[in-house]
């Protein structure tokens, strides 16, 4: 209790709770609701039945009407609390509904049919977190396949990005060679030209080397990222040359210098590039959309987008699949959130 109080009344330096502190906390709490609320709403909605999902106004919890199996009827019958003519209430199962009249039976006495107006009955509901949407969704939405493709793309693209950019950054930061300035300048000048500007010709290149519907076509083209190259080079410039000279003196090859001196020392910058690369690749959309047209090669994002575009796909299934798609990245974030936010804030985009 004391802890909560000291948390709530903590202010900037002074002991008194200033009105700006109240504004701050109100802002932060509203912000938390606004940032997390939509995702929480999505998660709760994904457990709802189809009947519940079209209900208006919507409710947070996934309610489901209770049913009862009565002998003589094939399907389970929905249960209602019914107000009878004499004013008493009873739990009855509905057999059928005709217009404004409902025909119900007492599960204990299934032979006698009771007829009441529909406004005299209230459905009996309970909260059920059922996995039906997920099970049914996975049948038409090939989650395992898309997840596999997304993982392959993200992992291999990140490894490739780290490798070729750190090698090039090493050369550009630590050697004086003819052509260094022009190479660096040309690469940097494309920093702001996104892939979306050269869609058509890159697609021609991809088609020519037959990488259409091939995960390689998604992995390789964006691997040489000027952002990453710049970030790594700036960091490697801070590594003292004496270290390299000493290693050379000891007979180390240039490769060993790169792999065993430069890379370990550039770890913070490599970590930031890893975060960026995973984020870019996992969420990438436009490029895979163009390269991958056969569904067995779809990544999660492409799969989800085409799933929402399909006819006759119900919202409850889309929501369940959306939850599955955001789960992995949320999990990673929950574990690494401090490293991610401080990494971007310190090495960030400057």
């Amino acid at each position: 209790m004391g802890k909560i109080k000291s948390f709530l009344t903590r202010t900037r330096g002074t002991r008194r709770l200033h009105f700006t502190d109240i504004i701050t906390y109100v802002y932060l709490i509203l912000g938390t609701i606004l940032m997390f609320g939509p995702v929480i709403w999505l998660v709760f909605s994904s457990f709802k039945t189809q009947a519940e999902i079209v209900k208006f106004p919507p409710r947070l919890l996934p309610y489901r009407q209770e049913t009862v199996v009565v002998e003589g009827y094939e399907d389970p019958l929905p249960l209602y609390t019914v107000t009878l003519e004499d004013g008493s209430t009873a739990e009855l199962a509905q057999v059928r509904r005709i217009g404004l009249e409902s025909q119900l039976i007492d599960p204990a006495n299934p032979d006698e049919i009771i007829k009441v107006p529909i406004d005299q009955r209230e459905p009996i509901e309970k909260v059920v977190f059922s996995l039906d949407n997920y099970i049914e969704g996975v049948e038409s939405f090939n989650f395992a396949r898309y997840l596999r493709n997304s993982l392959i793309v993200t992992i291999f693209a990140t490894i490739l990005t780290l490798l070729i950019n750190s090698m090039a950054a090493f050369a550009l930061a630590k050697y004086h060679f003819k052509g260094r300035e022009p190479i660096f300048f040309i690469m940097l000048s494309t920093l702001m030209v996104p892939l979306s500007v050269i869609l058509v010709p890159v697609f021609l290149v991809i088609t020519t080397i037959n990488w259409n519907n091939n995960l390689l076509g998604v992995i390789v083209p964006a691997a040489a990222t000027p952002t990453g190259l710049f970030l790594l080079r700036q960091y490697m410039l801070t590594i003292p040359d004496e270290l390299l000279d000493a290693a050379r003196m000891d007979g180390a090859s240039e490769w060993r210098i790169y792999a065993q001196i430069i890379l370990p020392l550039a770890k913070p910058a490599l970590a930031v590039l890893t975060i960026f690369s995973v984020m870019w690749r996992w969420n990438d959309f436009l490029w895979p959309l163009i390269v991958l047209s056969r569904s067995e090669y779809f990544t999660l994002q492409i799969g989800l987008n085409s799933f929402q575009g399909e006819l006759n796909v119900q919202w409850n299934l889309i929501l369940a699949m959306t939850v599955l798609t955001l789960l992995p990245i949320t999990f990673v974030f929950a574990i690494l959130q401090r490293n991610i936010t401080t990494g971007i804030a310190t090495t960030g985009m400057k």
């Binding site: 802002y27 940032m35 090039a168 010709p201 083209p221 065993q260 959309f285 989800l304 949320t330």
Partner: protein, 337 residues
Amino acid sequence: MTTQSPGNAIREGFSRISYGTNNFVISFLDIIFGTIQRWVGLKGMPYVFVLPNLLVFGIFILFPMLLNFVYAFTGSTEFFLDQRPWVGTANFEQLLTCDNFLDPNSCYQDRFWRSIYGTMGYVIGQVAWMVVMSMVTALILNRGMRGRGFFRSVFFYPVLLSPIVVALIWKWILQENGLLNGIIVSLGYEKLPFLVDAQWARFWVIGISVWAFMGFYTLILLAGLQSIPADLYEAASIDGASEWHAFWSITLPLLMPTVIVVLVLSLIRAVQVFDIVFAFTGGGPGTATLYIVQYIYENGFSSPNKLYGLAASASLLMAGTLVVLTLIQLRFRREEV
């Protein structure tokens, strides 16, 4: 003396294994690269190191950039360059033919101009909101309250969500019978046509973009705020300056370079917006949220007769805009140094 927990033992085991494989990979590659080094000499090694990057860069970025010009100056719906007739500047003329440039209806390629005006509206609205919201959030997070790390992560979380997921979450909330209309009705008002009405759709496209990206810019601004030396504020308070005064004469001027970085980054990203809008409204209703990259995508990839030339020339015009924006940014950066 520390007792070793099983978790530590496992971790140590793993690190030993990974150290071992690492060593093996490095030594193995050393044999290859050592041979290369004997062959090309020390002077040749930097070229070996830049080569992989340069190859990928050249094949998938530089070469296509040049090809883009070829597409822009050739016509027809053929994809392969040898079958495309040279048409000179006809594609650009088609894009730029308008009786009145302010009225997309009078243009030959009305969708192009709609997408340009749409993008302009989106960029202005989005960047303004983005800078204001991330600035306010960064200032509040900078107050040094307890739980700052947590709240920082809260605002950053949507940045990690994919555009498709963001679009679907908000589509679900804003649809006719969605959460927001539920709240509005329960307060006694009428439902609002959030996704059906053009103005509302434009508003929400900006709204969800700010929701999704503001955490990133907040982080950058927060880092900028924290690099302002604390003694400046101490000196100011000794001189009797009010907090308000300190904000205007210390915080704002010293934060200005970071604000400009945020402004330009969000500007450049806003011009290129595609996925989040494509999944959220698909450019609709009508062409209300049709933006330039979607116009390029449609002409090059999704419409039945693919006008690659138009797509390429439109993207050249867009690249030109981006280059100008980048130059402006470089100008600002130089001034600040």
